[in-house]
């Protein structure tokens, strides 16, 4: 079982006070805090092993390369991928989705093709496809969601046709926290020969995600939401899919040979193997090492424990929020269907009013659209306040959050 008080000892920032109050960090869906183990791993790397990777024969470069490759291996094991060839390090979920859109979408999507996304997506899973459709001429279709923000699976399945070439959807909504049935959608997509790209930004940090069990073809997620530094993220792809894809960016690191042909007066290029074909230029080595430390930390805590702890906190918070007459929780209220995220509003106040009132007591929550404007349109909301939990949050913190809500929700 997870002891959040023990976990908290590893997070130096949680000793901070904000506006004269102990920091309560409930904005974990935006980014997580970092434990000393991650901070020390980065510090150690710069103090002992910093060098460019895959370039030099000297000792430091060999050490740095080994650490960086180990980081890929560690992430592969964490999500049960076959090996590091299926793990591409990127800046975050957004870059991972853009990588797929441009490297796979551009050569594979044409006029009569369709890309299927849902209305509950983060902008990062909408905008790349909309942008690219203006070049490729394909159609972006939106699967209908229910008015509470959940997916309408029957409608979703009917929207997938033989024209659908890729189905892109979030595992967990970053607004409602609803966990989607990945297996069901993957099966429906595969029945029509479509690929599946899952946005795992809100699931990989909080749930046991097994890519083989879920059957997805591609998975994008961010390191910074799972204790790792900002500027880290991962694209998982089945080896046979990544092998067929051309690179996203060109430069050093991602090539095996660049040879000048004096007859044609052009250079011919042979790409490097997986995953380096997709990691052009000097990569974020320290970030990758920080991500490895984060994954080790989460494995040590146990992802099942993470799930259980967050479900307990979510259930506890919802139960007490429901007692407040002027507080409305948006979307489903059942914590077992959700993943540590509670969107809500207070009657008569904007989401920013709520966030700034809580801020005065050291409680950090998100307000606004959370980069999911279409879902807010569907829910008929101008914006929402969002509390989101992680391994270091406690019931005491939820109590404090409820106390402040009580103050501001009074008519």
């Amino acid at each position: 079982m997870l002891d959040p008080y023990k976990v908290r000892e590893d997070f130096p920032i949680l000793k901070r006070e904000i506006n004269g109050h102990p920091l309560v960090y409930f904005d974990n869906a935006a980014t997580s805090q970092k434990p000393s183990q991650v901070i020390d791993a980065i510090k150690n790397y710069y103090e002992r092993s910093n060098a460019n990777v895959h370039r030099a024969v000297h000792t430091l470069s060999q050490e740095a390369s080994e650490l960086y490759e180990n980081a890929h291996e560690e992430v592969a094991k964490f999500i049960n991928a076959n090996d590091m060839e299926e793990i591409v390090f990127v800046r975050g979920t957004t870059e991972a989705i853009n990588l797929v859109a441009y490297a796979w979408g551009l050569p594979n999507l044409g006029k009569n093709d369709e890309v299927l996304v849902t209305l509950m997506e983060h902008h990062s899973n909408i905008v790349p496809w909309e942008n690219l459709s203006r070049i490729g001429g394909f159609r972006v279709k939106y699967a209908q969601a229910n008015t509470d923000g959940t997916l309408n699976y029957e409608a979703f399945e009917q929207t997938i046709t033989d024209k659908t070439k890729i189905v892109c959807f979030s595992h967990v909504s970053n607004v409602t926290g609803i966990v989607n049935d990945v297996k069901r959608i993957v099966k429906a997509a595969h029945n029509h020969g479509a690929l599946t790209l899952i946005d795992g930004a809100q699931s990989v940090p909080h749930l046991c995600v097994d890519v083989k069990d879920l059957g997805m073809d591609l998975l994008a997620f961010s390191g910074h939401k799972m204790l790792a530094p900002t500027g880290t993220g991962v694209l998982y792809g089945k080896k046979e899919i990544l092998e067929k894809m051309g690179p996203f960016h060109g430069g050093g690191e991602m090539i095996r040979d660049v040879t000048f042909n004096s007859a044609t007066r052009r250079c011919s290029v042979v790409w490097a193997g997986l995953p380096w074909k997709f990691e052009a230029g000097t990569p974020n080595v320290s970030g990758g090492i920080g991500l490895m430390a984060a994954v080790k930390y989460l494995k040590n805590v146990g992802m099942k424990n993470v799930e259980t702890h967050e479900e307990m906190l979510t259930s506890y918070a919802i139960e007490h929020m429901q007692d407040l007459g002027n507080v409305e929780i948006y979307g489903p209220h059942n914590a077992s269907e959700k993943c540590g995220i509670i969107p809500f509003g207070v009657k008569g106040l904007s989401s920013h009013d709520v966030a700034l009132s809580l801020d005065a007591y050291g409680i950090m929550i998100r307000s606004g659209y959370h980069c999911a404007q279409p879902l807010h349109q569907l829910l008929k909301l101008k914006s929402s306040a969002r509390a989101s939990f992680y391994i270091y949050n406690t019931r005491e913190e939820v109590d404090k959050f409820i106390e402040v809500l009580k103050e501001i929700e009074r008519p």
């Binding site: 009132s357 005065a360 307000s367």
Partner: protein, 89 residues
């Protein structure tokens, strides 16, 4: 000469349907800024002593004790600057 920039750390558009502007006052001058604003603007409503709804020269806004204010329905940056000059200088 004292300017608005002496009091204001940053201004930023809020995220959401309403295109509001959030103004963060400099930490070391936030109390002075709050005092000046409270003296010059008209109080419309106070919510739990945490949110103060105020009006100044036809512009309504909310002030928070942590040193931030959210201005609504402003035409442009110039109008924000004009209002802040009136409130702070």
């Amino acid at each position: 000469m004292v300017t608005v920039e002496d009091y204001v750390a940053r201004t930023e558009g809020t995220c959401g349907e309403e295109k509001d502007v959030v103004v963060t006052f400099k930490h070391d001058r936030k109390n002075e800024a709050i005092q000046r604003i409270m003296k010059r603007a008209k109080m419309q409503k106070s919510i739990a002593n945490m949110i103060f709804e105020l009006a100044f020269e036809g512009v309504s806004f909310r002030l928070y004790p942590s040193g931030r204010a959210i201005f609504r329905s402003l035409k442009d940056k110039e109008e924000l600057h004009r209002v802040l000059c009136g409130l702070l200088l």
